[in-house]
């Protein structure tokens, strides 16, 4: 695979449901990031994984948000009991030498 891939590309859910968003980073990239982008806003950092180190979770907005990265590769961002304010585009990026390579994002809509 040439770039970062994310799935699904679009997700519509009802308020209160749980959702899982997936990110496949570029092979060999040890750093992986999740960001959130709301309409008209900049990218908001959520969580950062670097190799086998403990993730930097400082950007997660609440304990409803969690993420894991299995085997140093694929990552899943989970949002529990979704709220309407969670509606946004969720972007994943992997990094090489400081440069971040972004996936196309998952557009989450909470009804």
């Amino acid at each position: 695979g040439a770039g970062v891939s994310q799935s699904p590309s679009n997700k519509v859910t009802e308020k209160g449901k749980d959702v899982e968003l997936r990110c496949d980073p570029i092979s060999g990239h040890t750093a992986l990031y999740w960001y959130r982008q709301s309409l008209g806003q900049g990218l908001e950092f959520l969580i950062y994984f670097q190799g086998n180190s403990a993730p930097d979770k400082s950007g997660l907005p609440s304990d409803r948000f969690s993420a894991e990265r299995t085997g140093g590769s694929v990552s899943t961002l989970t949002i529990q009991r979704t709220q309407q304010e969670d509606s946004a585009v969720y972007l994943c990026a992997s990094s090489f030498k400081g440069t971040q390579y972004f996936g196309p994002g998952t557009r989450l809509t909470v009804l």
Partner: protein, 113 residues
């Protein structure tokens, strides 16, 4: 407080002119600053990185400057084309430790023919 600001939400210019976008930051000492391009419905794409000890960097029609005294970066597109229309984001590494970048909100550039 720490801030990164791109002073224009939108910039409209005519084809062939030079577009200049500004990024200012306060209370950071970044080791480098980056510029990304984002098209609607897509993730940002890396364009250029400039380090704190570099004053200027060029890539084809793109030029970036970095003034650590003014805490400002300028991003220039010369001989602009309608295909350059997009949102341009600046980003910096907040603590020189290679952690998550802090992004500005972006400037949306429209180049008319």
């Amino acid at each position: 407080s720490q801030k990164i600001e791109q002073n224009s939400e939108a910039l409209n210019i005519q084809e062939g002119k030079t577009a200049t976008l500004t990024c200012n930051y306060t209370n950071y000492s970044p080791a480098y600053l980056q510029w990304y391009r984002q098209d609607p419905g897509r993730g940002p794409v890396f364009l250029l990185l400039i380090r704190e000890n570099e004053k200027e960097k060029r890539k084809e029609r793109l030029k970036v400057t970095f003034d650590t005294t003014l805490k400002q970066s300028l991003f220039h597109i010369t001989a602009s084309q309608p295909a350059d229309s997009a949102t341009y984001l600046c980003a910096l590494d907040p603590n020189q430790a290679g952690t998550a970048l802090i992004f500005g909100k972006g400037t949306t550039l429209s180049v008319s023919s």
